[in-house]
């Protein structure tokens, strides 16, 4: 645009989406849904040693109405599922979901009569973290993956969405594949 020619370095032109998403991505407010041992690791990630606030996600909100990133860390039983959904529905749009640990992602070792075998049956999960429990580095990696998703489509050339694996093993799904996963059959 020619406008820079007039005003020089004092002005940057961009789109509103880019600015808003840049702000969103660097100020994610997590809603911790910690129901089991994975939550201990999530707390470790949030506290001083691993310090999630370096990535702008230190404002832990225990009210879903003030948060935009749901971290499901732990086992979800059939009886807990409606609670999780209710809390998720209370979060304002746009919102993102991390499924932390084997239990939240697939039921883990608890292949029993009572445990939901993966919260992605009920919620649109954006990033899965494997591990039992995942190390704090994995959660940080997942947060960075969420930031990528917030900032924009992962790959323009990949409309279907594919699983991307990263160094520590976190899997990121593009929004397109999340949408297909969340729709009941």
């Amino acid at each position: 645009m020619g406008i820079e020619k007039i005003f020089g370095d004092s002005l940057i032109t961009t789109s509103v989406n880019a600015v808003v998403n840049w702000a969103r991505k660097n100020a994610l407010w997590p809603m911790p849904f910690g129901t089991a041992c994975c939550a201990i690791e999530m707390m470790a990630t949030l506290s001083g040693r691993y310090d999630l606030s370096r990535f702008g996600a230190e404002v832990i909100r225990f009210s879903p109405r003030q948060s935009d990133l749901m971290i499901v860390s732990g086992r979800i039983s059939i009886k807990m599922m409606p609670v999780l959904i209710k809390i998720y529905e209370q979060m304002p749009e746009p919102k993102w979901v991390i499924s932390m640990g084997a239990c939240a992602s697939s039921g883990g070792v608890f292949d029993t009569y009572t445990l939901v075998q993966g919260v992605d049956q009920f919620l649109p999960v954006h990033v899965y973290i494997p591990g039992c429990p995942p190390r704090p580095e994995s959660l940080i990696d997942a947060l960075l993956k969420v930031q990528e998703i917030v900032a924009g489509p992962l790959k323009q050339a990949d409309p279907e969405g594919t699983l991307l694996s990263t160094r520590s093993g976190a899997m990121a799904l593009t929004p397109a594949s999340c949408a297909t996963k969340a729709t009941p059959a």
């Binding site: 959904i85 749009e93 009569y113 919620l123 649109p124 917030v150 900032a151 949408a179």
Partner: protein, 184 residues
């Protein structure tokens, strides 16, 4: 008193209504009886000054499916774990409950702590306690089909984990992924 002495005392009082059980060295002695005798025996255990079991530690159920216990003989046994805080001794009582009619009398009038124990036993084994005013499920969802701790119940359940459509998102409701403002 040791459990053996308590069993002897019960047999002396109630005769053949009470069968002693338990193997020395493996388990403590306990008493087995038909469910009709539960209330008289347990109130005796509570009120006798030498026994005075003032605390019901737990009510639960054992499923004897394919176990063929010679004393219990029925499919289920309701187990009452008693503790006397006064004398510091413990005792265990089992009541036979047949498979075709899984009912047992509630001991709520003797010990208030039976309320949740009986609810949990009902939740997991489907044994109903007559006289308990609050026979609802305790742990599982109210609309859960089946009784998961019965031995003939499949370990993985019968597909209930996936069969709760009321919790699923409605297809027309906008999802986060659709409304995401990231199409920069």
């Amino acid at each position: 008193m040791t459990p053996e002495e308590i069993v002897q005392k019960l047999v002396a009082r109630f005769g053949d209504k009470v069968s002693p059980s338990g193997s020395p060295g493996i388990s403590r002695s306990f008493a087995v009886m038909d469910r009709d005798h539960v209330l008289p025996v347990l109130s005796y255990l509570k009120d006798d000054p030498e026994l005075s079991f003032d605390f019901l530690a737990d009510v639960t159920v054992v499923d004897y499916l394919r176990l063929e216990d010679p004393v219990v003989r029925e499919r289920f046994a309701v187990v009452y774990q008693l503790l006397s805080l006064k004398h510091n001794h413990r005792f265990e009582v089992k009541a036979r409950v047949p498979e075709e009619d899984p009912r047992a009398p509630s001991v709520l009038e003797l010990w208030k702590s039976a309320l949740w124990g009986e609810r949990e036993a009902f939740d997991m084994y489907g044994v109903e306690f007559e006289g308990n005013p609050d026979m609802r499920r305790l742990l599982m969802p109210e609309d859960y089909p089946g009784f998961p701790l019965r031995k003939d119940y499949p370990l993985h359940g019968r597909g209930e984990r996936d069969a709760f459509p009321q919790y699923r998102p409605q297809p027309d409701a906008p999802r986060a992924a659709d409304t995401q403002a990231s199409q920069a």
